[in-house]
């Protein structure tokens, strides 16, 4: 199914001038010091110069990030799936317009957000089904291998995050899966100055901490 053998950036992007180091890890594995935007750039450059395999690597490397960003808009899994597909089709069709190859990841995430935003507005007009309501409470389709030791902790965190405002949830999820250069796009979309993204994120995290901390409850647990 997965073929992580494809597309080492160092091999597929021989022409990239600013990539001095050879990379030993497959493109699908995050590597410290090798940010996703840079890998995306190398793969994109390689693909543009005719290496079809590089597109394979690019899709596998960036799709999970697009998924999480799209899901930040409260779309159900089916719709999120569709939005991710549309995003890639848009790249293949209109990718010529990308002048600065370093910006390809940002271009992809912004395209995905626009499409997700549009879909979420459409969905809002329809009444949510019981399934969709439930879905925001419980993660669906948890694959077998994810049910491991940390499951309880993760689920608790999931429910705390679910109690944050929609805006906080979206902001945190988009930021969590975006590289720093994406701040400007996010600011534009949430209609706030770039400078206030950081503080807002801080406040959202504070609220999350407050929810996580078992504060001096009036019941028996008198924690400090």
């Amino acid at each position: 199914m997965e073929t992580p053998t494809s597309a080492l950036p160092a091999q597929t992007a021989p022409t990239a001038p600013s990539a001095p180091t050879a990379r030993a890890a497959p493109a699908t594995e995050p590597v410290a010091g090798d940010p996703l935007w840079q890998r995306a750039e190398l793969l994109f450059v390689a693909w543009r110069s005719g290496d079809q395999h590089a597109l394979d690597g690019l899709v596998r490397a960036v799709t999970p990030v697009l998924w999480h960003i799209v899901r930040a808009y409260g779309l159900d899994r089916e719709t999120a799936d569709d939005v991710v597909q549309t995003t890639w089709l848009t790249l293949v069709r209109r990718g010529d317009a990308i002048r600065d190859e370093r910006a390809v990841l940002r271009w992809l995430t912004i395209t995905a957000r626009r499409e997700a935003w549009r879909s979420s507005q459409q969905a809002r007009r329809a009444t949510p089904s019981d399934d969709e309501v439930l879905e925001t409470v419980l993660p669906r389709q948890v694959s077998a291998e994810t049910i491991v030791v940390r499951d309880d902790e993760q689920r608790a965190l999931w429910s705390y995050v679910g109690r944050l405002s929609e805006r906080c949830q979206r902001l945190l999820r988009v930021i969590a899966f975006s590289d720093r250069p994406d701040y400007a796009g996010l600011a534009e979309e949430l209609q706030m100055p770039v400078g206030s993204i950081g503080p807002t994120r801080g406040r959202c995290l504070d609220k999350l901490r407050a929810l996580m901390a078992p504060t001096a409850a009036p019941t028996k647990e008198g924690t400090s």
Partner: protein
């Protein structure tokens, strides 16, 4: 602050674990992109509705409740699709293009293509379509042959 950074890291890990992308999403994207080798421009429809047949339910033969219903929409038209056929058997696709128009209909699956035509009422049928990834491409039949073909996103049937 590193406090914030570590909490962000935890939250990211939580999403990665509890709400991961479908395992085959990248595969399906690549499948969909293959279609881009067609040199014509075409319009991408959106999946606007899907109701899956309830697993395990038995409906009378031919009853519509036994089928998965999928709706694709574009600016100009809508395609409704009923997918029937249980388990690993071939699927039967009953489709309807609205507003009604004639078209050549190509079904792309992981194992090849099937082709049929939609008649003047916009209806078409494809039988024995292998289960799995499916994508439909429509080539409208017009006098001058200039209408833009349209294509659905990839769906699992």
């Amino acid at each position: 602050m590193s406090d914030d950074a570590s909490l962000m890291h935890r939250v990211r890990g939580m999403w990665e674990q509890l709400d991961p992308p479908p395992a085959d999403l990248a595969d399906r994207v690549l499948f969909a992109l293959e279609l881009e080798d067609l040199d014509t421009e075409f319009e991408l429809l959106r999946l606007t509705e899907r109701s899956d047949a309830l697993a395990g339910t038995r409906a009378p033969r031919g009853a519509t409740s036994d089928a998965t219903h999928i709706t694709f929409s574009g600016d100009q038209l809508t395609v409704m699709l009923a997918v029937a056929g249980p388990g690993n058997d071939g699927r039967r696709l009953d489709g309807w293009i609205a507003p009604a128009s004639e078209a050549r209909v190509v079904a792309r699956t992981a194992t090849g293509e099937r082709e049929t035509v939609a008649d003047a009422t916009g209806r078409f049928v494809l039988e024995d379509v292998p289960p799995g990834m499916l994508r439909l491409v429509f080539f409208p039949v017009t006098d001058d042959g200039t209408d833009t073909p349209f294509v659905t996103p990839t769906v699992e049937v």
